[in-house]
């Protein structure tokens, strides 16, 4: 009897100990990656998350309040942070082209900034469509726009004339034909980033025609563009320099090299990122809107707005709001990138390129796209020859319906 009891006791102890081990293993099971993502900053420093380095040109760190901006490894991490209502971060830096931006506004995952006069002051200096995008349906300012980014054609009028190029009132198909026909043995260069072009074509199609209720004519239009995109056989995000000379394009652009560029497809945020691309240094450059998809159907310039959204649960909310005031004040006064921040009333008359850019951005429209899973996967599958055009369209339509209704 005694022996049986002792064995029973032994069994219970072993069982309990093994449970304790499992429990402790569970508690201590944090992976190295998790630790890397759990960022701890000093009490006087704010923590911001971003999924790309969009913040670099906005000097977000140059206010009196110290900030640390971290780029997590995964998109899921940021979504989890938002969903969990964590208080250990203070803001996020995002772009309006991401579907997450829309969801943040819809779910109220932001701190309303209406009570901060500097925010209202900054918004006043932007164009109406940006102010509109920064205002939720209930009138709350849900984000602080830091920069407006539009794609455009940058060209030298004299060289365009020399090569017989005219970008006004041109469709993309005509544009591509002209680019293909350019000689490749001159002394000049041109740059056609097909990724940017593809993105713009697809954005325009999505916003102007839409995939859901397209007629036969629209379908044929998309087909012709998709075939062209497929024919170029480059990944969506890649660009290509074409040299009209046998020399390589230098990394650091001298004034002389800049003068040899016939045209480039550019984004406004690339304009001052690097001194090598400082087109303001030399005279003769003009900026004009990207081609439309077909004649007579004018599409607004698709503007992407990089913005800051404040965590409503931030443990350092007071300090964060102090930072917001400082940042907005700084952005209002910033004249180094005047065309980006769109200080209305700014005098651009001394530089024709700045004037062009100002006009282009003022004609913009903020856009947002469907997540990659909804449209991008199918487009890519078609480009890679894995899907027929009609099947691709059917899939896209179905995904959009599902995305909207689910």
């Amino acid at each position: 009897m005694k022996e049986k009891k002792a064995t029973q006791r032994k069994h219970v102890i072993v069982l309990a100990l093994s449970m304790l081990v499992v429990f402790l293993a569970g508690c201590g099971g944090k992976k190295e990656k998790d630790r890397a993502e759990s960022v701890h900053v000093p009490e006087d420093t704010l923590l911001g998350y971003t999924y790309s380095e969009v913040y670099t040109p906005y000097q977000l760190s140059s206010c009196d309040v110290k900030v640390e901006i971290v780029q997590p490894d995964s998109w899921d991490f940021m979504v989890t942070k938002l969903l969990a209502g964590d208080s250990d971060y203070d803001f996020m830096v995002l772009s309006t082209d991401s579907s997450l931006a829309k969801d943040i506004m819809r779910t109220g995952a932001y701190y309303a900034l209406n009570d901060i006069p500097e925010v209202a002051g900054l918004l006043e200096r932007y164009h109406d469509y940006i102010k509109e995008a920064a205002t939720a349906e209930n009138g709350e300012f849900w984000m602080i726009p830091c920069g407006v980014n539009v794609p455009f054609v940058l060209c030298r009028e004299d060289l365009c004339e020399e090569y017989g190029l005219d970008f006004t009132d041109m469709t993309y198909l005509e544009f591509m034909e002209q680019v293909d026909a350019l000689p490749k043995n001159g002394v000049h260069t041109f740059f056609t980033p097909y990724g940017l072009m593809t993105e713009d074509i697809l954005n325009k199609f999505e916003q102007v025609y839409g995939y859901e209720n397209m007629g036969e004519q629209d379908k044929e239009l998309l087909r012709s563009y998709m075939e062209k995109i497929r024919a170029y056989d480059v990944p969506f995000n890649e660009g290509k320099w074409w040299l009209l000379s046998s020399e390589e394009r230098p990394n650091q652009m001298s004034d002389e090299s800049l003068k040899n560029i016939v045209f480039e497809l550019e984004r406004s945020d690339n304009m001052t990122l690097s001194s090598s691309l400082d087109f303001f240094r030399v005279d003769g450059f003009r900026a004009m809107k990207l081609p439309d998809l077909e004649r007579g159907v004018v599409c607004p310039m698709k503007a992407k707005v990089d913005f800051i959204v404040i965590n409503p649960k931030s443990a350092k909310l007071e300090l964060t709001l102090q930072y917001v005031s400082q940042l907005c004040e700084k952005l209002q006064k910033d004249t180094t990138n005047a065309f980006r921040y769109m200080s209305q009333g700014e005098d651009f008359s001394n530089n024709v390129l700045r004037e062009d850019l100002y006009r282009l951005i003022s004609e913009g429209e903020v856009y947002s796209t469907y997540p990659y899973d909804v449209v991008g996967e199918e487009l890519m599958a078609y480009r890679e020859g894995k899907l027929e055009f009609d099947t691709m369209l059917e899939e896209i339509k179905r995904n959009i319906e599902m995305y909207r209704k689910e």
Binding site: V22, D103, N399, Y403, E406
Partner: protein, 261 residues
């Protein structure tokens, strides 16, 4: 005895705490989230989120597909595992090594299996490749469990039953099934739980959050709402899913009690 029981309870505290902390509390929180407007305003809205979720056609589609998976694929999995275990029991000599073969699918990474599956089957029209993948990946574990249960059966019971005139199918129905019913219930529950985890296989198979209608299960619905920051739909869907599992467990336990000796 009292002292002994007290000791047992004290020793169990760590694991109970663990379960409470990592399972019960989060579940209570999920229920809470399913009853509020959103996690920021925290306005109580009663069962409105459930109403919205149940009325949603894609939730209903996901629910239908998940239930079909449980109703069709899980029984096929359990019955196949049961029959194979019986067959393996009769294997002699080197044939016994066949048992190991059924463990292999568990060892092979899902992503590798999916690559092979994609070349073998086209799942755009039929859901069966996904069901087969689910069965292939999980059958090993069930065979191990059932084989272990079979090995505990005493041959004396069978001899006695044979003397009483029981043979073949009757022997299994009257002796084997009731004796292994606790293990059988456990395998069914494992099958049900794993059927909810088929999302991983399915997601890798189709490579998108929007698979064909026949493979759109509750996990897709919840995963997509996670990315839309819609915690309320996600939480309501999760609570409904857990209730379904709870009902299956209760029914299973009752049936097991009814059929066990």
């Amino acid at each position: 005895m009292k002292k002994y029981l007290l000791k047992c309870r004290l020793l169990l505290i760590p694991s109970i705490l663990g379960v409470a902390l990592f399972y019960v509390l989060p579940y209570v929180r999920v229920i809470y989230y399913s009853l509020i407007e959103n996690q920021f305003s925290r306005k109580f809205v009663g069962l409105k989120n459930y109403e919205k979720v149940i009325q949603n056609e894609y939730f209903r589609l996901a629910l239908k597909n998940s239930v079909l998976l449980i109703v069709i694929a899980v029984p096929v999995l359990v019955v196949t595992a049961f029959l194979l275990s019986l067959l393996l029991l009769k294997m002699k000599g080197y044939w016994k090594l066949l048992r190991i073969a059924f463990i292999f699918p568990m060892l092979v990474p899902t992503a590798s299996v999916v690559v092979v599956w994609r070349t073998l089957f086209d799942a755009s029209e039929s859901v069966w490749p996904v069901y087969l993948l689910f069965i292939y990946k999980n059958i090993g574990l069930l065979i191990i469990l059932l084989s272990a249960a079979f090995s505990t059966l005493s041959s004396e019971v069978y001899e006695a039953a044979r003397l009483d005139g029981a043979h073949g199918f009757t022997l299994h129905r009257k002796i084997t099934l009731p004796l292994i019913s606790p293990t059988l219930l456990f395998t069914v529950l494992i099958g049900v739980v794993y059927s909810f985890k088929v999302f991983r296989e399915s997601y890798l198979y189709f490579g998108t959050s929007y698979p064909p209608d026949h493979s759109y299960t509750l996990q897709y619905y919840m995963n997509n709402h996670f990315y839309k920051l819609n915690y309320q739909n996600l939480a309501s869907g999760a609570v409904i899913t857990s209730l379904i599992v709870a009902v299956i467990v209760v029914v299973g336990v009752r049936l097991q009690k009814k059929f066990s000796i």
